[in-house]
Amino acid sequence: MKQGLGRALLRLFAVQGSYNYERMLGLGVGVAEEPLLRDLDDGKYRPAVARGAHFFNAHPYLVGLAVGAAARAEHEGTPPDQIERLREALCGPLGSLGDRLVWAGWLPFLSGSALVAVALAAGWGAVAAFLIVYNIGHVALRWWALHAGWTHGIRVSTALHHPVLHKATALLGPAMAFAVGLALPLSARYLAAPFPRWGQLGAVVTAGVAFLLLRWRGDRLSGLRVALGLAAVALVVGWVWP
């Protein structure tokens, strides 16, 4: 089964490869689960593969929990409707935990730290360090998720209460907020360094106005729209300013 877990782990790296609005990550989950189902009898193998590819949506790094748990449940002869319910029940918690832990924690914390280092002239080494440290956590989380799912099977919810996960989430939130807060003024200084005095002042005032716009109409405006709008205004200003 070690070989099956290794194959499943490798396939999990491409779990979003066929992302679609009908089954979301379902096909990727089915593909990742398939190596763990090969020991099943002929009569059980194909229905299990078909079930594995049903609708599924969660954080991609934690999908392994569902893959391992569902595969284990198939091996233990758990009734199909119970496996379907297990998959459905895991979508929300895995999505929520992964978003808080990775998208709103680990990733912006390390990215903000990298921006601070780059703004303080650390150069490409800071970017390399970001990539290495981030992926140590990334790969470890994917492996832990798959292993925990396979170990706990239908009782996988116990793995979600692992104290390390909760401690990491509690620590990474404030760390992320501090790191990105630190990065913003230093990035402003780094980016605006080549501007003349009026340009630096203009950048601060324009950033303030754009920030208020994004806070006020965040439901309609995005950073991209504001940036494109400001770039268009800048081109027009340059054109009409004698």
Binding site: A14, Y21, N135, A183, P185, F211, L214, R215, A227, A231
Partner: protein, 220 residues
């Protein structure tokens, strides 16, 4: 050619494979700079687009711009036009490429949905080879999409210099760069505040911001 390959890898990394964050602008930009022999420009544009990336939280089926290949195109533009002019022009090319990239991601997902829907009976039969074929097809379509977005961005980069660099005065270039930097800072701050919320993390954000301001003033 190297930029096209790198931009494609960056585009595929965003969603499909392996999500190791080479799609983050700070990484995509730095490596593009290294390919072009101009790491400082790669770092600068990478940092600017990384701030814009904070505006995005990729949860559920949310639609978002694609800043990875956009940063590749932005650095290619900036490398061809020196100084502040490069920063402004690079940002402009990158922003348009990011918008187009975002549209293509949505269209690809819709296409994948149609293909998966059409294959429902095959999928329900539990044929592992059919499942694998459909999945690999999705990855290959994403690779093609990423290559096309990168090619579009590099084409814009090639066009930007003769079309915009000539008519723009030094002052116009500064105004454009100021707009780009200001919007990146605003998007970075607004996006982070959405993550931070109104709880205790807000205090940590304020502490970081204050510390950053102090260091920035101290380094002047």
């Amino acid at each position: 050619m190297a930029l096209l390959v790198w931009g494609t890898l960056v585009g595929v990394d965003l969603v499909s494979l392996p999500q190791m964050m080479i799609a983050r602008p700070i990484v995509a930009g730095t490596v593009t700079g290294a390919i072009l022999g101009d790491i400082p420009t790669g770092l600068k544009l990478g940092l600017m687009f990384e701030l814009l990336q904070y505006d995005i939280l990729p949860v559920g089926a949310v639609r978002y711009p694609e800043y990875g290949p956009a940063t590749v195109a932005a650095v290619a533009t900036a490398h061809a036009s020196a100084g502040v002019l490069g920063l402004g022009l690079g940002a402009l090319v990158g922003l348009v490429t990011a918008m187009v990239g975002g549209v293509t991601i949505n269209e690809l997902r819709r296409l994948n949905s149609r293909i998966v829907h059409a294959a429902t009976s095959t999928l329900e039969s539990g044929d592992p080879r059919a499942l694998m074929r459909l999945h690999v097809g999705g990855v290959l379509r994403d690779a093609l999409r990423a290559a096309l977005v990168t090619a579009f961005g590099l084409f814009l980069a090639w066009l930007a210099r003769p079309l915009l660099a000539g008519p723009l005065s030094a002052r116009d270039a500064i105004v454009l760069a100021v707009a780009a930097v200001a919007s990146a800072l605003a998007a970075g701050a607004a996006g982070t505040l959405r993550l931070v919320g109104k709880g205790p993390k807000l205090g940590w954000f304020a502490a970081g911001l204050g510390g950053g301001l102090l260091v920035a003033v101290w380094l002047r």
